[in-house]
Symmetry: D4
Subunit: 252 residues, 8 copies
């Protein structure tokens, strides 16, 4: 492409000033196209981290994005803040469990026959993080199946669901306390497991440190870990993998 520009200068088709502009643009494009490419190719909508932002700030950012016709999702929006926002933007959708607020042009599931993400969750206390993962993944265009309350202290509940979890293209496994669930799931499935430690617990859980360390030390091989309570990050990684996996499965 640089060669073309230079040839046009040589041929007089471009003035020096024009060529300089185009080359500069090309240069910027070297990095700016990252964002553009990502949006075009992946269709990943914009994501806002809502914690520490006022309702007014969230409204103005989401409006700006929506007015461009783009989808938009805000994580960690507490109920009170969401209710304030919904007064002004009643067409936004709020998921109270997940603390997620979003707007999407059309929310159609993929056909479901090509693969799904398993969201596996140890206890009911971890639900906020699990739902943050689930809603994020659905918003980003993946199908999701929820396997909740299947913690290791009642291993049969997990085993009852093991076939369905095995069939998922990727699992997001959410657990607090001793964080043992990803190891057990990782030993039962043959696809990637994204482990999300939660801060659920008390005392020597030290705000999620116990679950985090346990997951990093998993004796199962296919487990990788994201930050404590980072349901969004778990889902984002899973959707990246699920997209590849679904294509692969379609051709099987």
């Amino acid at each position: 492409m640089m060669e073309e520009i230079l040839k046009k200068v040589q041929d007089g088709q471009l003035s020096v000033a024009e060529a300089k502009d185009q080359l500069a643009a090309y240069e910027n494009l070297g990095f700016a196209k990252v964002d553009h490419n990502r949006k075009v190719r992946q269709g990943f909508p914009e994501i806002i981290f809502g914690e520490g932002k006022t309702a007014a700030q969230i409204i103005s950012i989401m409006d700006a994005i929506k007015s461009r016709g783009d989808d938009v999702l805000a994580t960690r929006v507490a109920k009170e803040k969401a209710e304030e926002i919904l007064k002004y933007q009643p067409d936004f959708i709020y998921n109270e469990t997940a603390n997620i607020l979003y707007w999407k042009k059309d929310m159609q599931p993929n056909m479901g026959d090509t693969g799904y993400i398993a969201i596996v969750c140890a206890g009911t206390s971890d639900l906020r993080v699990a739902e943050e993962a689930a809603v994020t993944a659905e918003f980003l265009g993946s199908d999701v199946r929820r396997f909740y309350d299947v913690g290791v202290a009642g291993i049969h509940r997990l085993l009852d669901n093991v076939e369905a979890i095995r069939d998922a293209t990727v699992s997001v496994v959410v657990a607090g306390m001793e964080g043992a669930l990803p190891s057990v799931v990782g030993g039962l499935v043959s696809r990637p497991v994204i482990a999300v430690p939660t801060s659920i617990g008390y005392g020597a859980n030290f705000q999620g440190l116990s679950a985090l360390l346990a997951m990093l030390n998993s004796c199962a091989s296919g487990v990788s870990v994201v930050n404590i309570d980072n349901g969004f990050g778990g889902a984002y990684n899973a959707v990246m993998i699920d997209r590849m996996a679904r294509s692969a499965r379609e051709e099987d």
Copy 2:
């Protein structure tokens, strides 16, 4: 008992000096009888922590105890040190895996029909700690059944043994890395689980911290924890419980 002594003084059966001695003895007995009682009632032999002691020191302590006719066990005796000791005391028995050296008048198993301790172990790397627990428990007079290499990443290996573990009076569960095994066992059995974290692992296991924190945060209710790599401590707690449990089971 004090009253009796005083009465004898009043009756002239005891001189003041004799009474003083007996009362002093009684006083000391108030605390000294702890050790005595323990040995008499429980038959717990003496235990030596071998780490940081020379072969000569271990020999002299063990000889002294043995010469009283008492059983004696030394934990954390490395192979080289043990070999040096065995040259002088060939009738001592050394368990290389457990790093335990002991001498016992007669090592007869209990009849086995009245209960046993399950030593459950996640990986082959945890064997030293598991065997320290197993040999200690046997030395202290309990029957032991070993369930090794049943880590959570291959949960079916554990489930294949679940009935036998359930039948134990108490389980000592040894695990390093993510330390998930006690939670899974705790959810499957209805008897106490003593969890022993090990320092096995690397990186973010931080010398056993990951397993320790996981076990303290176990979502299963009947799990209590001892120090990292403390196989002896796990066994000691278990034997205390097993003794009570066996008596109970005998009468069932």
Copy 3:
């Protein structure tokens, strides 16, 4: 049992569909019977962790359980929340010190001649955790004797009670700050000690870390540890042991 089913199929007593159902049931029973067995054999009622649940949620869960005729206990229910619940369910009982709310068909003590759990507590600040342990243990059917305010800085207060603590089948020892009490008790008794560190203290106690580490490093042999502030867990372990111990003592 599997054999019987198969024989009935062979004999035509069971259709293939019926056999499939029964075998599936049997399979599930492999794990589902855990819970069932536990309830039937042990009579352990349901336990709810009240922290982070609304009054409405607690009411609906407890009502559901109570309507089945089962006993139910909720830990960590703050006073305000409890008062709200008691308006709707005045027959629930609330223990304010322990922050425990429960309902039990009939709360009859065991005969008391067969053993009890000692709840030993260092300071008055640790009372909430100690009472959580005591009320839980009583609710689960054990007799309890309380030995409060016997911290190590006034060792004579502990020694005055040492005989009664020695006679307990198991001790739950609750302490914050330097967490020294379980070591001292462990050296005085010959039965298991369940140590419960509390977050009581300030500065370098780091929310209970000082007591937790001290207890894990106890120089007394028969001490195992549960999570910080986990009075319930301490009691649960103790009740498991006490049940076995009482049976054993009955036959003495």
Copy 4:
């Protein structure tokens, strides 16, 4: 499948004993097939963690596997140990940088036109971990491209390679010290990044803690993390994803 067995019993094709065996097999298969399936479907060979094992132990395990005709790889085998093993098994291959010893029937690369894993590495000190990842991934059947010494303090070295890294199906990014590289790579690519913190550094790196925490807190969205120095784990996750991705890309 259970239905078929039962029908054969009904039809007299199977005796009760034969059916019991098959059903038991089926039952075990419920969990045992995990391992079997994994090997058959994924072709994942056996992996041995060599640290803490003697040369003799490694030889006997590897021989056993090799004699079944299976491929086998041992990580963390120090040079001296490897040389000892190679005397007995000169057909094993040892990669000194990666500290990996392996045997593989035939080591043919995939055609290379369908995708590859990028192994990205910050500094020359991280080479051991990066090569552990690279050799593992190749052994497990993926193509690998190495991008070494592209740390963030000389960002142009990374940018010079950005297109090739973008084209990878997944990146394994290895870094010690401040662990910044995965964030920068994660911002430049649109495929998953597996971050591997290393213990390289000194002082306040606390054996890899600095890199680990940095990676868990990555501001780039598609980054997940494995344990410190766990090059093998990074590769294992990447191969799982690469297999799906390659299938997907083949059909593009």
Copy 5:
């Protein structure tokens, strides 16, 4: 100077009492002149740490300083507190983003042709700390250029500004989460980088520990670090350097 005083005593020009006073003064001057010198030579105005002080306390301190004709700046003054203060002292200036309140006789920028400090900031969440640094530096008499929202996950945003950052006499680089930005900037510039970790993030960022450790372990050589969230300290160090640098540049 001591010699002069002594001579005057010898000459009778000073009484013993007077000489004693002067020598004592001289002695005190040995240390007291530090503060005086600093103010005279550096023109560094007084700084107040506003956190934990009441509005009334801040008013009285600032008034006292202002009445001497000296400039004064208070950091960490929350909005409510500032509004209360401004009622009484409407001529104070409050910067809401920086949480800084100040009064300055005349706020004239240096001519700008002799150098400036670059304040570089990773994300919008770090703005408070970055602005604390920027406003402090301006108040202390340096020119400042702000480069905000140039975090490493979108490296092109940073690279677009690299020439202007290179031309700064010193950079203050503010970042939370993985704290990678100072390493990247340190690799691109040849002047000192003062790194300011922020507590922005959640989970395993542990209130800024992740960014702090990352910055201390920077693989770029010219990076030094101040306390978490210490925008003021970063600016203070930078102004010290900028003053020297500007003098140097003036003569180039």
Copy 6:
């Protein structure tokens, strides 16, 4: 004193030059006299921290001090190093348990009727630290009584010695593992307790952290703490107090 010098100048008794010298000396004396005074008034000999110094370095320092006729003590001198030194300086005395090497003109105990320091020690493993304290205290001129192996797990051993410990002017209490001993002693005595945590233990003792935190959180009021394994520091503090206390007791 300054006044006298000035008067002599006025009187012509001192030249200006002489006075200047004396005042300068006085000035330096302002700080230098600290060391001098300390030696003169307290008779504290020089102390050398032997760890990390070669035998040759220790010899040359000790010789220099000894040649001035001053006493000298070196802590943390391992046995091999000491033997090397003793070849050259056979009149030095080496205490192998304490790892202390010293030379003292005359080592006479104080009369013993005026007070002593109690060195109280939990276990035999803590002996090195306890003896470092004991030998240091004796070397610095205090009488010492040793109370060893009186750990809290056998509380009667401590109680048997309680009167003698109470009579000490100050106690140095040395303990590793759970570090409970200072709290118990602090509750029994009415004089200061200097607590010395040791690194003795394993696993969750984290090189002495458990004992250190326990001692800092002591529920007994008169306990202060020095660094882990710092027997010397414990003794130094105790000797300071003992000197005052003995004077006080003499007059009782």
Copy 7:
């Protein structure tokens, strides 16, 4: 004493029942006399830790003690709570800076010519802790001199006061942030220094950890440390020493 009782029994002067009572009393006295002795000999009044107690609880405890004619002091009583208490007990005295509430029969200073405790304090933010120490020490009967705002960043302020600090019998040195002050003071004085770390600071001070570790690692020899923010504990240790020191100084 025991002998006397026994003789009286022999002589018929005491009945068995009376002797039993007296011996029991004597026995209890073995530990109970601790408290009694302490009060009688030391005149240490009762101390209440006010944090976490209600106003009503504090009133009832203080009233009970006061009604016995004993002095009483409560630490960590917040202003609001104190005001509530003072409505009922207007003769209590509240020190707002120290958060201390007390009642004392007669608060007369000792004559001041026999010694005093120096309370040395780094910054104005540490005042609460310093005053807790100062008021406690005065309440316990020692004279106190305050040396505030003499932090190490303005070392001349400390040096101006060095003689007066040297003359103290013992120093309580209070500092947050880098906790350097005790080391500097310890190098200037020849009497014991009790170091009190405070939680004052932010970021990497980690709630007082930085000051605590610095003080434990002091390079000055005569420094011992109490818990973070424990001004009371610092004073208590100092008063114990001051009492001995004053007696000693009286006789000089």
Copy 8:
């Protein structure tokens, strides 16, 4: 510059191929010139981190650099390794205290009248790190003055040197244990202080953590911090500042 290239293409002075090369070079130059510029403008020679490299590796790297005529310095080269290297390269210079090996064309000091770096060091144990800083700074072309053994426990030693430290353009302050020295120096001087914590100490110094935290929390304003034991980093930062400062001072 780009404009010039384009004009030459337009004028036919450059072929398209030549222009493309030059623009590519220019592009690369966008980042590559960093290194080049740095070397040309700053004269910073190459630095090698010697730890973990073999003697052979160090020889080959240093030879390569030296053969280009460039200066070269290797830090952290232990004595044995250095001696091995010096056999092959006797013209290299080894500083044993600093563990630094270097080669420099001509090592001429700057004239000394234009400024110098003060290397300030707390104790003799910190010498290795201090000398690493001093030798590095000299190698990079700055004058250095050493102020060693001026730790805060003998504050007069520091104060005796305060004027000379104040006159330095920048101070590198090296301290282990409590890390107090940078705060004291920072309060005495008005130029930047680079603080280097060392791992010197034991027990609760936790390999330098105590000094590191203390320095990050310095109450003096002009202090910034580098990694533990990073004498090289401290010097590098100081040289950057010293160069600017010397230029500035030359014109005063």
